[in-house]
C-alpha cells in the first residue's frame, strides 16, 4: 500500500523568517516614502515577473480575518489573479472577493480600483520595474547614487526630449512621480488616470518587485506629484463621448476593444468588479 504524503506548508506559505524580513523592509519603506528598499525576495511557486513581489507582501500581511481581492489590469478573472487567489486560499483561511469595498487587502497588477481605497484597506502593487531612472541609467549602483544625490536631471531631460520630438510627454503607463518632495518613484504600470489617486489618499499603498527585489511604499496623506513642466502639465487619459457597453458608465477607466470581423470599436470598464456592481444596480430599480 502506498502511503499518501501530504505536503504541508507554513501558514501563508512563507516561513516566518521570510515574513519577518519582508515586514521589517515594509516598515522601513513606509518611513521613507518612495525609496526602494532592497529585500531578499523568496522563490515563489509562480515565476518571477508574475507578481511575486506583490504576492510576498500579501502573504506577509494576510490573516484569517482578511478578505482578499486580486486584480489583473482591473480584471478579477484573469488566470494570474485566479491562481494567486487559489494559492492564498490553500494556505490561509482568508476569504476572497471581487468587491473592492469588501476587501481588506487588494493585490493589483497595473490598476487602482475605481472606488477610492479606504483607511482600513491596503493596496498591494505588483511591480515589474521599480526603478524610474532605469530608462536613463542602466547601472543599479549609479541609479542608487542618483537617488542619494537627488540628481534627477537625466529623467527631466528625457521628458524634455519627448516634448521636442513628439510635442508631448510620451510616457503612458508607469508615469514617474515625486513622493514627499524627495524620491522619484515608479508607480508600476498603472495608467496616468490612476496616478492622482495616490496623492493624499486615505489608504496605504505597498509596492513589491519580486524579480528586482525591492519593496517601497506610499503612506496615506503623502504628496505625490507627477513629473511635468509648467507649460506642459500632467494630463490623464480621457474618454469623451465613450461609455462602457456593459454598465453604461462614462466616468470610469475604459478599455478599448476591437471586433476583428465587423471592425467595430467598443468600450468596456477596466475595473470588472465595479462594473458588475453598477450593472446590478442598473437592473434593480
Amino acid at each position: 500500500m502506498q502511503a499518501h504524503l501530504k505536503q504541508t506548508y507554513n501558514y501563508a506559505f512563507l516561513d516566518e523568517g521570510s515574513k519577518k524580513e519582508i515586514r521589517r523592509t515594509t516598515l522601513k519603506a513606509i518611513a521613507i516614502p518612495g525609496y526602494q528598499v532592497p529585500f531578499a525576495s523568496r522563490e515563489m511557486p509562480i515565476g518571477r515577473g508574475w507578481g511575486t513581489g506583490g504576492l510576498q507582501l500579501t502573504l506577509s500581511l494576510i490573516g484569517d480575518q482578511d478578505c482578499l481581492k486580486v486584480i489583473d489590469q482591473g480584471n478579477d478573472d484573469s488566470v494570474n489573479a485566479v491562481s494567486i487567489k487559489k494559492l492564498v486560499q490553500s494556505c490561509t483561511k482568508a476569504e476572497v472577493t471581487t468587491d473592492s469595498e469588501r476587501a481588506t487587502i487588494i493585490q493589483t497588477r497595473h490598476r487602482i480600483p475605481e472606488v477610492p481605497i479606504r483607511s482600513d484597506q491596503i493596496l498591494v502593487f505588483q511591480v515589474p520595474l521599480p526603478e524610474p531612472l532605469r530608462m536613463v541609467e542602466a547601472k543599479e549602483r549609479k541609479t542608487k547614487q542618483l537617488h542619494a544625490e537627488m540628481d534627477y536631471s537625466g529623467i527631466w531631460l528625457r521628458l524634455y526630449e519627448d516634448i521636442v520630438k513628439w510635442g508631448k510627454i510620451s510616457i503612458g503607463a508607469d508615469y514617474p512621480a515625486l513622493a514627499h518632495k524627495r524620491y522619484i518613484f515608479a508607480p508600476s504600470p498603472i495608467p496616468r488616470y490612476d496616478l492622482p489617486k495616490l496623492n493624499h489618499a486615505d489608504g496605504l499603498f505597498l509596492f513589491g518587485a519580486g524579480r528586482e527585489k525591492k519593496i517601497y511604499a506610499i503612506p496615506p496623506y503623502t504628496e505625490i506629484e507627477p513629473l511635468a513642466f509648467d507649460d506642459y502639465p500632467f494630463e490623464v487619459e480621457h474618454f469623451e463621448g465613450c461609455s462602457c457597453r456593459l454598465c453604461g458608465s462614462s466616468d470610469t477607466f475604459l478599455d478599448e476593444l476591437f471586433d476583428e470581423k465587423t471592425g467595430q470599436k467598443f468600450y468596456q470598464c477596466s475595473d470588472t468588479g465595479n462594473c458588475r456592481k453598477r450593472q446590478e444596480k442598473r437592473h434593480t430599480p
Binding site: A12, R23, A31, P33, L61, H180, H200
Partner: protein
C-alpha cells in the same frame, strides 16, 4: 502541548505587525495591542511590549540593543537572544533598540548620538528605537504633548506621552536633520497602546 493563550509566533506576530504597520503609516495613531500583551508569559524578564515587538521584528539577520535599569536586564537580554536568535550589540551597531526603562539624560544623549541613521545612498540601514513610556494618549493631556505633521497625517495629529523625556525629541530632530537619513521611533505603554514616529514626521512641542 500548546497553550492557546501564549503569544503565538505565527498569528500573534502577524497581528502585532498589522497594528505596527498601521501606526507607522499613520504617525501618532494609537493602536490597541492589549490583547496580545496579555498572552506574554509571566516569567518574561522584560516589558510585555518589548517582548512582543522583539518576537515580531527580530531574528538572526538583525541585531538589537536592550536598555533597562532593572536588576534583571541581563536576563532580559539573554531571553530575547534565545527566543529570537538575534544578537545583542552596542547601541551604535544595533538595528533595533529597546529602551525599557527611562534612561538619564546623558544616557539618552549617548544613545541618540551613536544610533545608526543610515546613509544617503542606503537610508534603510538605520535603527528603529522602541521606547517604553508610562502612558500614551491621543489627546494633549499628558506631560509631553506633541503636534505631528508629515506623510501619513491629514493636516496635523496630536499625541502625548507620560514618562518620555523631551530630550528624545530634541535629539531626534537633530539626528533626523538630513532626510532621508534618520531613525524611526515606536512608542508603547503597559496598557497596550502603541504609536510610531517615522523619520518623516515633524514634531512640534505643544508647550513651547
Amino acid at each position: 502541548m500548546t497553550n492557546a493563550e501564549t503569544f503565538h509566533h505565527v498569528h500573534d506576530t502577524r497581528k502585532l505587525y498589522r497594528h505596527l504597520l498601521d501606526s507607522m503609516a499613520r504617525p501618532g495613531k494609537i493602536n490597541d495591542i492589549s490583547v496580545l500583551l496579555h498572552k506574554v508569559p509571566e516569567t518574561c524578564p522584560c516589558s510585555t511590549g518589548t517582548y512582543v515587538l522583539a518576537q515580531t521584528l527580530l531574528d538572526q539577520q538583525v541585531s538589537f540593543y536592550y536598555y533597562s535599569q532593572e536588576i534583571n536586564a541581563d536576563d532580559a537580554e539573554h531571553a530575547i537572544e534565545w527566543t529570537t536568535g538575534s544578537r545583542h550589540t552596542a547601541s551604535h551597531a544595533a538595528d533595533y533598540l529597546f529602551i525599557d526603562t527611562p534612561p538619564e539624560i546623558d544616557e539618552i544623549d549617548s544613545i541618540m548620538q551613536s544610533v545608526r541613521i543610515g546613509t544617503l545612498t542606503e537610508p534603510e540601514k538605520s535603527a528603529t528605537i522602541a521606547l517604553h513610556v508610562r502612558k500614551l494618549s491621543g489627546a494633549d493631556d499628558l506631560a509631553l504633548p506633541m503636534v505631528l505633521r508629515g506623510p501619513g497625517i491629514n493636516g496635523w495629529h496630536i499625541l502625548s506621552a507620560d514618562g518620555m523625556n523631551s530630550e528624545w525629541l530634541r535629539l531626534r530632530s537633530e539626528r533626523n536633520r538630513e532626510y532621508p537619513t534618520g531613525c524611526d521611533f515606536i512608542l508603547f505603554d503597559d496598557d497596550g497602546r502603541i504609536a510610531a514616529l517615522p523619520r518623516t514626521t515633524r514634531i512640534e512641542r505643544r508647550d513651547f
